[in-house]
């Protein structure tokens, strides 16, 4: 039974991926891409990788989906042709196929992987969820750099603004009718999303969840509130906004350096305070991740009244 389920899931993933790549029209491709992200998330869940499943659903399908839909809407407003497209080039298909075949071969040729034994060291990390232990303790340097990668991406997006619009609020102006569906969602969803996001961060120490997953849910809350015009779009010049962006990486980096000040290795957490330190770092990271992801989706500064 489960085998049939898995096979069906694999077939669905492949079929939806093919539809996203090979279909005509940008809108169709976007919809299939979002569907693909959801199926892949289910796939991760079937593999028992619930943290990855959460991240894939929230970022791969959720935020990226919003981003692509917004891009499609913009292309339509610009009256760019979104149906015409080149047929997928043969070379790309061949390269993709070759890599897939090679990886497939490797999967059959390799023995079962033997990852390093995390369980033994887990008690000293301060957390019970091995994924959180890897992200915030064993390989904290990766996570720290990743949080800065997000920041670099946002700076890159900001650099796409027109020079004349630089001081304008970020992102397009959203219009929501006060009695419309969006305004209703804007009042209804944020409390739920807020609790869920905070819960994910808190729970991440012991079970599924963590700063990235929680931050993504909170970013969704911010986005909904902005689209419903409950939150005004910020400007780059707002000091509080920029402080929120650097809070997470800053706290992470400084806590790592504090260890050096105490005569320990860079980024080390003594088992006695590891749990509280990780919670503080995750809380700070969550705020920065939420703000950064939301701002990545709404985009660079834009003239509030285009065509003025």
């Amino acid at each position: 039974m489960t085998l049939a389920l898995d096979l069906a899931l694999c077939a669905l993933i492949l079929g939806v991926a093919l539809a996203a790549v090979a279909g005509a029209g940008v809108f169709r491709a976007v919809i299939f891409f979002i569907t693909y992200g959801l199926f892949v998330a289910i796939g991760w869940a079937r593999l028992g990788a619930y943290d990855v499943a959460l991240a894939e659903a929230a970022i791969g399908a959720g935020l990226t989906g919003v981003l692509l839909l917004a891009a499609h809407g913009r292309l339509r407003r610009m009256q760019a042709d979104t149906t015409e497209r080149r047929s997928p080039t043969l070379s790309a298909a061949l390269a993709g196929g070759a890599i897939a075949l090679a990886l497939g071969w490797a999967w059959f040729a390799l023995p079962a992987p033997q990852p390093p034994d995390v369980a033994q060291a887990l008690p000293q990390t301060g957390v019970g969820n091995p994924v959180t232990a890897v992200l915030l303790n064993f390989r904290a340097w990766d996570t720290l750099l990743e949080s800065i990668v997000l920041l670099a991406a946002l700076l890159g997006v900001w650099m796409l603004a027109r020079d004349a619009d630089w001081n304008a609020p970020l992102g397009p102006r959203y219009h929501a009718r006060p009695d419309g569906v969006l305004a209703y969602f804007g009042r209804f969803l944020p409390p739920i999303g807020l609790s869920f996001g905070v819960y994910l961060v808190w729970a991440g120490a012991e079970s599924v969840g963590g700063a990235f997953q929680g931050g993504t849910v909170l970013a969704g809350v911010v986005l909904v509130a902005m689209m419903a015009q409950l939150l005004r779009p910020p400007r780059v010049s707002q000091a509080m906004l920029r402080a929120a962006l650097v809070l997470g990486p800053g706290v992470f980096l400084l806590s790592g350096l504090a260890a050096v000040g105490l005569g320990r290795e860079f980024l080390s957490l003594s088992p006695a305070i590891a749990k509280s330190a990780i919670l503080i770092i995750e809380a700070a990271l969550t705020i920065s991740i939420a703000v950064t992801l939301a701002l990545l989706v709404i985009g660079p500064a834009e003239d509030p009244e285009p065509g003025r």
């Binding site: 490797a106 040729a109 800065i148 700076l155 650099m159 780059v236 860079f266």
Partner: protein, 489 residues
Amino acid sequence: MTALVVVVTLPLLAALAVLVLPERARVKLALGSVALGVLAALMLARAVWQDGAVLLTLGGWAPPLGIALRADGLAAALTLMSALVMAAVALAARFEMRTRRVGARAAFGFWPLMLLLWGALNAVYVSRDLFNLYVGIELLSLAAVALVALSGTAQALAAALRYMIFALAGSLLYLAGVVLSYAAHGTLDIGLLGERIPAHSDALALGLMTAGLLAKTALFPFHVWLPTAHAAAPAPASALLSALVPKASFLILIRLWFEAMPDLASPPAILMLAMLGAVAVIWGGILALVQKRLKLIVAYSTVAQLGYLFMVFPLAGGAGSAQPWSAGAWTGAMFHALSHGLAKAAMFLAAGICIAAVGSDRLGDLRGLARQLPMTSFAFALAAITLMGLPPSGGFTAKYLLMTSSFAAGQWPWALLLAGGGLLAAAYLYRPMAALFAREARVTARPIPRVWQAVPLALAALSILLGVLSATPFDLLQIARPEPAAEGL
């Protein structure tokens, strides 16, 4: 150890601080941090010089559980070279990236992006972990793409997008290789991988990682994104992109082929890498010859110069690693990476001054500029000497080492390529020099502050000095050199 921590954290901390600080403090903080960075890089080089490679297990977790950082002679030398280039770029950008000149957007974005790029470079230089290296080059690529977009023109945005597509495709290939290698060996640590029991999938993993890194290093035929991207960026950003960014992915290639999986360096594989390098030297040189704009000439020259780096594979890699000439070849290639970094940054900064002075970088508009900008023109000429490989420059030392080892190895075609590439460089650099030093002056140049003019001159002088005082950097590069190449001594 402390110097190593400072080297990897200072640029990132400065980038975060620059983002929160008000506009007036921004430039001061960036300048202060590059000054500190040069100091930290010097301390690190001294520590490596005195006690050998500096090791750091992050968080106290030894691999395979945690991540190890290690600064060997090569990493220390690259860190120092990058810190010097960063300092020069920051000094030039103080003039060039002013709000009045480039607008508030670019003046805001340049500083944090420059610092993030620097942090990524340092992180890559010392990392011993394949996945951590992936995160490092992701940060590097994103900061580099954003720096290309800084100009804001339609061409710059198109070039940035093209760069990003290549960089992301490269990342994906590299990551696929890392995953395969991890699946087979359960570790990401380069040192542990060097002692692994070989698996069937290793060749595939190494191939995927190499393909991805070649795209990022812009080796022929993956070079197509480089010239437009490097020419479209503002000059200080171009200096960083051309002088430093390709060196990071090249260093990972060295780590892979000489330290993690040296047993896979079969003759056909290393021959192919070297052949691509050879084609890059010739093709990049020819394309540089036909360009009409100074920045494009300098950018195509990067395509050509990166090709020399790959001579290290046939002369010091694989079966050649046990030979007596391998040490010279390895050191020669690394010398080339260092001297090209200094000289190329000097050239782009000089080009930036020319553009600021006459408002264009078409060769025809630069005629006779040497009279009004003697320091800048002299800096360009000095940097050109290094790129051509003429004595007594660092470029000469590099080519001399590579050439003697190719004769010793009996692989004379590479020596021929080195000579031919030098001639091509002389040819394509002659045109801008002839324009700069022409007798008649076409245009009147806007005055340029002397401090700004002195910056590329200092860098170019350093690239010459690297050849004059080559003994110290030579010895530094030998410290903790990968075993296969060290056996030859």
